[in-house]
């Protein structure tokens, strides 16, 4: 994904998050919401300015543009790649799997399953790397941090 596209995606996500914080704080009295309001005004002003500046740059570039060779840009390369081979999407899927399993089965099962899922899809086929390494790591985490240091990790049906 290009820098510009990333900027737009970030600004879209951040605007939604900030808008929610701003709107939710408006239910409070003036003295409770003034700080958030000021910050939101700064954020939204700068964001609108940034978007306008970006759009102006896009228009200028379009006017000056020489047609790019097909397949030369980073985006085209990404688009050509089937989505299930896109490593960044695999990582997102592994994280979502981790979160989903953690709330049902607890940290350790979620960690083991998503480790195997991610490692396998990133190209590892060696059973030692796929199974033995995560089992030893998680066993060490359990013994040292859960049993010895008494750290609380999300628990589920199995662990």
């Amino acid at each position: 994904m290009s820098e510009r596209k990333s900027r737009f995606v970030f600004l879209a996500i951040a605007t939604v998050m900030c808008l929610y914080i701003f709107l939710d704080s408006q239910k409070l009295s003036f003295k409770n919401s003034i700080y958030v309001t000021v910050m939101f005004v700064i954020f939204i002003t700068m964001t609108v300015w940034e978007v306008l500046a970006e759009m102006r740059t896009v228009q200028r570039e379009k006017k000056e543009a020489v047609p790019e060779k097909e397949g030369s840009s980073e985006d085209t390369k990404e688009a050509k790649e089937p989505f299930y081979k896109n490593k960044k999407l695999i990582l997102v899927a592994a994280m979502l799997l981790f979160v989903a399993l953690m709330s049902i089965f607890g940290f350790f099962v979620a960690a083991l399953v998503s480790y195997i899922f991610l490692t396998f899809l990133l190209g590892t086929r060696n059973p030692v790397q796929l199974l033995v390494i995560p089992v030893i790591t998680l066993a060490l985490i359990y013994v040292i941090f859960v049993m010895l240091f008494n750290i609380r990790l999300p628990q589920g049906l199995l662990f």
Binding site: M1, E3, S6, R7, V9, F10, I13, A14, M17, C18, Y20, I21, F22, S25, K27, L28, K31, N32, S33, Y35, V36, M39, F40, I42, F43, M46, E50, A53, K87, K88, L91, A94, M95, F98, V99, M102, S103, F107, A110, A111, S114, Y115, L118, T119, L122, T124, I133, P134, T137, L138, I141, F145, L148, F149, N150, I151, R152, L153, P154, Q155
Partner: protein, 507 residues
């Protein structure tokens, strides 16, 4: 008892092999705990608090303070090798240490971090040793107005990021709005999605791990490697030791930055709730601001590592000095150390200095000793850990993912922290890829809560007579520093442009 007699008496209390051994063990535990993201020194201190009371009083306290000191250094190891700050204080270390790793200079960066941490620790404790009473008395002069000015002063540091005001303000205001989630200063909740777990706000651990570590995983997968251009350093003890020693040599070129960061870091450490994360970011900004080449910061400038690492370790000296002098714990770790003092029958506060001055000074001396031990222990740890960058990406990324989830979830044992970490990881990837400055976002998030609280308290206290704020000398000094910091980079740029123009005209 004269000051000299107290110091001599304190030295006598140190001469025990048992204390040296427990200090070394404490350093080792601290460095190890600090290197694991999310697991803070507070965890280790709270678990080892009771066992430490079975030791002799000074040995017990030396053991716990060594853990605390070691953890601050340990945080820089994962920050350097994986862009994962092991502790919030190591955030600013990531800015330059990880780019050095990407350049194939991880060993040198680790050496710089280690020596800077040790020097930061030593200088701050030496300052405390000689100026214990005067510097700790500064704290009592700090009310909400002074704290507000400290926060505003710290916020001016984000102006040095060099990416333009628009991007900087987007990052800072976004960070501040995220920090506003949860209870307001008056105790009303806002934007907590009606979740009880968010009433306390967004915890800094999932935020920092997400913004740095998880977003970095996307970049690593994108490039297929940590080290760019195939400049992977061979992992052998000899090679690593050579690299670390070259970092030590490099340090001496940045000694002035280190000395300044140690003093400023220690002074910030004196302030309650400021701590190592604020001190390291402020000193990083100061170093960048005073540099002849501020644009090289964030791209692997050793000066940035020296400033951040010296400051975060120096803050510890200030925080513990205030704890001993007034019984005010400025952080979670300091609160646990305070419990240890009390359990051992040495209640921190003015009575400790009056009745057990030699004990208080031996704690200071033992921390100087800890700083020296940290050099040896940290060196060994660095030798063992430095090979991480050579692990293949297909193993490294899943393994780091486990540890990031472990770090985030271990904060309170909730799944929510894991969810937040994933969200901030994805947002962080687009943020960093879009070229927005990480420094302003982190500063906004860390200082947001402090800014709102102190602003409201100041308004409540001085709303009737705002003019009296300007009769406070500390407020005026900090205001002057803030104005100077705000205009200094601009003035410097204008001067250099004028100089260049003149030179061009002459040619």
């Amino acid at each position: 008892m004269t000051y000299l007699e107290i110091i001599l008496e304190s030295f006598k209390m140190l001469s025990s092999w048992e204390m040296l051994l427990w200090t070394a063990i404490g350093c080792l535990i601290g460095v190890w705990i600090g290197a694991i993201p999310g697991v803070s020194a507070v965890t280790a201190l709270s678990v080892l608090l009771i066992p430490s009371t079975y030791l002799k009083p000074l040995t017990g306290i030396a053991f716990l303070t060594a853990i605390y000191c070691g953890s601050l250094m340990g945080g820089s190891i994962s920050a350097t090798l994986l862009n994962v700050p092991g502790t919030p204080g190591a955030v600013a270390t990531c800015f330059d240490a990880f780019p050095m790793t990407k350049r194939g200079e991880s060993h040198k960066a680790l050496g710089l971090s280690l020596i800077s941490s040790v020097v930061g620790c030593l200088i701050s404790w030496i300052l405390v040793l000689f100026l214990f009473r005067p510097i700790t008395s500064i704290v009592l002069k700090f009310g909400p107005a002074e704290m507000l000015m400290v926060v505003i002063f710290a916020l001016t540091m984000m102006g040095v990021a060099g990416v333009g005001m628009r991007k900087t303000l987007i990052g800072a205001s976004f960070g501040m709005l995220l920090a506003a989630v949860g209870a307001s200063t008056y105790g009303y909740t806002r934007a907590n999605l009606n979740m009880a777990a968010l009433i306390e706000g967004i915890n800094s651990v999932p935020f920092i791990i997400g913004m740095f570590a998880v977003s970095e995983l996307f970049f690593i997968l994108e490039k297929g490697t940590i080290v760019e251009g195939g400049k992977i350093e061979k992992h052998s003890f000899r090679n690593t030791a050579k690299g670390v020693l070259s970092g030590f040599r490099e340090y001496f070129r940045h000694i002035l930055t280190s000395l300044r960061s140690a003093v400023v870091g220690m002074l910030i450490g004196l302030l309650p709730a400021a701590g190592s994360s604020v001190s390291s970011v402020v000193c990083y900004g100061l170093a960048q601001n005073s540099s002849k080449d501020p644009d090289s910061y964030g791209k692997g400038n050793p000066d940035g590592i020296v400033a951040a690492e010296t400051a975060n370790n120096a803050a510890e000296g200030g925080a513990l000095a205030v704890l001993m002098a007034f019984g005010i714990p400025g952080s979670g770790a300091a609160a646990i150390l305070m419990s240890c003092f009390i359990m051992l029958g040495m209640t921190p506060g003015p009575s400790l200095i009056r009745d057990n001055a030699s004990f208080a000074y031996s704690v200071i001396l033992v921390n100087i000793l800890t700083g020296l031990m940290l050099l040896a222990v940290g060196f060994l740890f660095v030798l063992l850990c430095s090979g991480v960058v050579n692990v293949p990406v297909r193993i490294l990324v899943p393994m780091v993912l486990i540890f990031t989830f472990f770090g985030a979830s271990s904060v309170r044992g909730f799944t929510l922290e894991g969810v937040l970490m994933v969200i901030f990881g994805i947002v962080g990837y687009f943020y960093r890829k879009g070229g927005y400055p990480v420094l302003s976002l982190v500063l906004g998030f860390i200082l947001g809560k402090m800014l709102e609280g102190n602003l409201i308290r100041t308004i409540l206290l001085y709303s009737d007579d705002l003019g009296s704020l300007f009769s406070k000398p500390i407020v005026l000094i900090l205001l002057g520093c803030t104005v100077l910091m705000f205009f200094w980079p601009r003035a410097k740029k204008a001067f250099s442009e004028r100089k260049e123009r003149k030179a061009n005209n002459n040619n």
